[in-house]
C-alpha cells in the first residue's frame, strides 16, 4: 500500500512536468529541451535555499521563478534571435548543467536535516489521520499523496482558468496559428516567452517537489524529463482523449500517474533499471502510433 501510494505521489509530482510539456508542446508546438535543465534547476534552487534555512514554500516558489526564467531565455533565443526551437532548448539546457552545479555546489545535496513541504504536511495532517485510526506510517504517506494531489489539481485548475481568459486564449491562438495571432495584433514572440515561462515554472516546481519528496537534490535528476513529459501527454491523450482544454489537462496529469504506475510495475516484474529509458522511449512511441494504428483499423 505504501509503495503504491509512493508511486502515486511520484507520478503526481511528475504530472507537473506533463502539464508543463502540455503547455510548451501541445499549446505552443515547441519541443522544449529546456525541461531537463529546468527540472533540476527547480530542485537545486529550492534545495539550496532550504539548506540555507529558508521556508520550503518560499524556496519552491523561487525555484519555480528560476524555471520560468530558464524557459523565457529559451523563448527569447528562439523568438528574437531566430534560433531553431530545439537548438534554443539544447543551448539553455546545456548552460543550466553548469548553473545547477554552481547553485548546488556539488553533485548531490541531502535534505534530511531541513524541513521540506512534505515534512510540514506530514506533521500537520498525519496526526489527524492517525487519530482517525489510520496506521502512522500510512497516514504520513497518505498526507504526502493528498498534498501533491491537491497541488496538481490546483495547478491544473489555474491553467484551465488562465487559458480560458482573453490573454490565455490569445496565447493558445498564437501557439496554434502564429499568422492569425500576428494579424490580430499579438506579438507571437512575447506569447512564446510567456508560454515557455509557464511551462518551465511548472517543470521546476516538479523538480522541487521531487527533491523534497525523495530527500535529496541531484544535478542529474532532470535527465530524460522532457521525454517523461511527452510520454505522459501522449499516454494521457491515448487513454483519456484531448477533446477540450479541461480534458487535455486532466489527460496529461492522468498520463503521468499511469506512466509511473507502468514503470513501477515493470520494475517489480524484473525490468533492469538500466533499461528504463529505453522502455520510456518505447512507451512514447507506442502512445504515438497506437491511436493512429487503431484508428485506421476501425475504418470500414
Amino acid at each position: 500500500m505504501i509503495t503504491l501510494l509512493s508511486t502515486w505521489t511520484f507520478g503526481l509530482a511528475l504530472a507537473l512536468v506533463a502539464l508543463g510539456v502540455f503547455v510548451s508542446y501541445r499549446l505552443f508546438s515547441f519541443p522544449d529541451i529546456t525541461t531537463d535543465g529546468s527540472f533540476t534547476l527547480g530542485a537545486v534552487v529550492a534545495a539550496g535555499l532550504m539548506v540555507a534555512g529558508h521556508d520550503p514554500v518560499v524556496a519552491t516558489l523561487i525555484g519555480m521563478a528560476a524555471g520560468a526564467a530558464a524557459g523565457a531565455t529559451t523563448a527569447v533565443i528562439h523568438a528574437f534571435l531566430g534560433v531553431e526551437p530545439l537548438l534554443s532548448g539544447i543551448l539553455v539546457s546545456t548552460a543550466l548543467a553548469s548553473v545547477n552545479l554552481v547553485v548546488l555546489g556539488r553533485s548531490n545535496v541531502p535534505l534530511g536535516k531541513v524541513t521540506t513541504l512534505f515534512d510540514a504536511v506530514e506533521r500537520t495532517v498525519g496526526p489527524m489521520l492517525s487519530r482517525a485510526g489510520v496506521d502512522r506510517t500510512l497516514a504520513g504517506e497518505l498526507a504526502r499523496t493528498g498534498f501533491v494531489l491537491l497541488v496538481v489539481a490546483f495547478v491544473a485548475t489555474v491553467l484551465y482558468v488562465f487559458f480560458r481568459t482573453r490573454l490565455g486564449t490569445a496565447m493558445r491562438a498564437g501557439g496554434d496559428t502564429p499568422t492569425m495571432a500576428r494579424a490580430l495584433g499579438r506579438d507571437t514572440g512575447l506569447l512564446t516567452v510567456g508560454g515557455l515561462a509557464i511551462s518551465n515554472a511548472l517543470t521546476a516546481a516538479a523538480g522541487s517537489l521531487v527533491a523534497q519528496y525523495q530527500g535529496f537534490a541531484d544535478v542529474q535528476m532532470g535527465i530524460g524529463m522532457v521525454v517523461w513529459g511527452m510520454a505522459s501527454v501522449f499516454l494521457g491523450n491515448a487513454l483519456v482523449g484531448a477533446a477540450g482544454l479541461g480534458t487535455a489537462l486532466a489527460a496529461a496529469a492522468a498520463g503521468s500517474v499511469t506512466f509511473r504506475l507502468l514503470v513501477a510495475t515493470a520494475l517489480r516484474a524484473g525490468l533492469h533499471p538500466d533499461w528504463l529509458k529505453a522502455a520510456t522511449a518505447a512507451v512514447v512511441l507506442a502512445a504515438l502510433v497506437a491511436p493512429r494504428f487503431l484508428g485506421s483499423r476501425r475504418k470500414p
Binding site: 482573453r166 493558445r172 496554434d176 492569425m180 494579424a183 495584433g185 499579438r186
Partner: protein, 270 residues
C-alpha cells in the same frame, strides 16, 4: 487614407540578380474605397499587399495609413489598423480553438487582451448575432472547433474576425482561391456585404477576372512590380472579364517581345 510613396521591395538571392517585386509604386486609396488588385503570377501583387500588412519590409519608400507612417511598424503593431483575410483558411483561424474563442481573440485585436473571461455572455450574443446575419445557421456552431468546419465557413469566420472592430484597411489576399466555386461565391457575397455595410476601405487581391470585373470601386492591374492599369468609376464599371483577359494577353505578348529583344542584345553584346 492609404498612401504608398514610391514603395519598392527588392530581393536578391546569393549570386543572383536583383529582383524588384514591387517597383516604385505610388498609390492613394481614399477612405471607403474598395480596390481590386489583379496581376499575373509573380507580378508582385501579393508582395505589395504583404508590404502594406508588414510581412514584407520595404527596400525604399513609405506607407502611410490613417495618418500614421507605418513603414517601420511591425506586423502585429499594424494589426491595430489593418484587418486581414488570408488565402489559406487555416492561416486566419486557430484550428484547435472553437469558433467563439477565435472571435474572442479577434475582439481584442490591436489591444492588450486582459484577464477577463474570453467567451463571456456578451461576446456570445454578439457573435451569434453577427455570424447569423452573414450565414444563417452558422451561429449554432459557436462552440464547435473551427478545425471541424469547411474552408468556406472558416473564411466567413475569418472575415468576421478581420472586421469585428472596424479596420482602417481590410486586406484580402486571394481569400477565395482555395475554395470550391460554390463556397467561393458565398465568401465573395459575404465580403461584398461586409465592405458595403461597413463602408470599409479594402484592398482585395484576386486571380479571378470575373471577381475583378464585378467587384470593387477601382481596379489595379500589377505587372512586373508596377501598376499597369488603374481604373475607377464608370471606366471600372464598364470592364468585363474579356477586357481584362485581353489586357493580360497584351502584357504577355509585350513580355515575349521584351524577352526576345533581351536575347538578341545578349547574343550581340554578351
Amino acid at each position: 487614407m492609404l498612401d504608398l510613396d514610391n514603395a519598392t521591395v527588392q530581393f536578391q538571392s546569393p549570386g543572383g540578380p536583383v529582383v524588384r517585386a514591387v517597383d516604385g509604386v505610388s498609390l492613394h486609396v481614399p477612405a471607403g474605397q474598395f480596390v481590386v488588385v489583379i496581376g499575373t503570377n509573380g507580378s508582385g501583387k501579393s508582395t505589395l499587399q504583404g508590404a502594406i500588412a508588414g510581412t514584407v519590409r520595404l527596400s525604399s519608400g513609405h506607407i502611410r495609413l490613417a495618418g500614421h507612417d507605418i513603414t517601420d511598424w511591425s506586423q502585429h503593431a499594424r494589426a491595430g489598423l489593418i484587418g486581414r483575410v488570408f488565402q489559406d483558411p487555416r492561416a486566419g483561424t486557430a484550428g484547435s480553438l472553437t469558433v467563439l474563442e477565435n472571435l474572442a481573440v479577434a475582439a481584442c485585436r490591436g489591444r492588450f487582451p486582459g484577464f477577463g473571461w474570453a467567451t463571456d455572455r456578451r461576446l456570445r450574443e454578439e457573435a451569434a448575432s453577427r455570424l447569423g446575419r452573414i450565414v444563417p445557421g452558422l451561429e449554432q456552431r459557436l462552440e464547435q472547433s473551427i478545425g471541424s468546419m469547411s474552408g468556406g465557413q472558416r473564411q466567413i469566420v475569418t472575415l468576421l474576425m478581420a472586421t469585428w472592430h472596424r479596420p482602417e484597411l481590410l486586406l484580402l489576399d486571394e481569400h477565395t482561391a482555395a475554395l470550391d466555386p460554390a463556397a467561393a461565391d458565398r465568401v465573395v457575397q459575404a465580403t461584398a456585404g461586409l465592405i458595403r455595410e461597413g463602408r470599409l476601405t479594402a484592398l482585395m487581391v484576386t486571380h479571378s477576372l470575373a471577381q475583378a470585373a464585378s467587384l470593387g470601386d477601382r481596379l489595379i492591374l500589377v505587372h512586373r512590380g508596377r501598376i499597369e492599369l488603374d481604373v475607377e468609376g464608370p471606366a471600372k464599371r464598364r470592364l468585363t472579364p474579356d477586357d481584362l483577359a485581353d489586357r493580360f494577353d497584351a502584357l504577355r505578348r509585350a513580355d515575349q517581345l521584351d524577352d526576345a529583344a533581351a536575347r538578341t542584345l545578349a547574343d550581340l553584346y554578351v
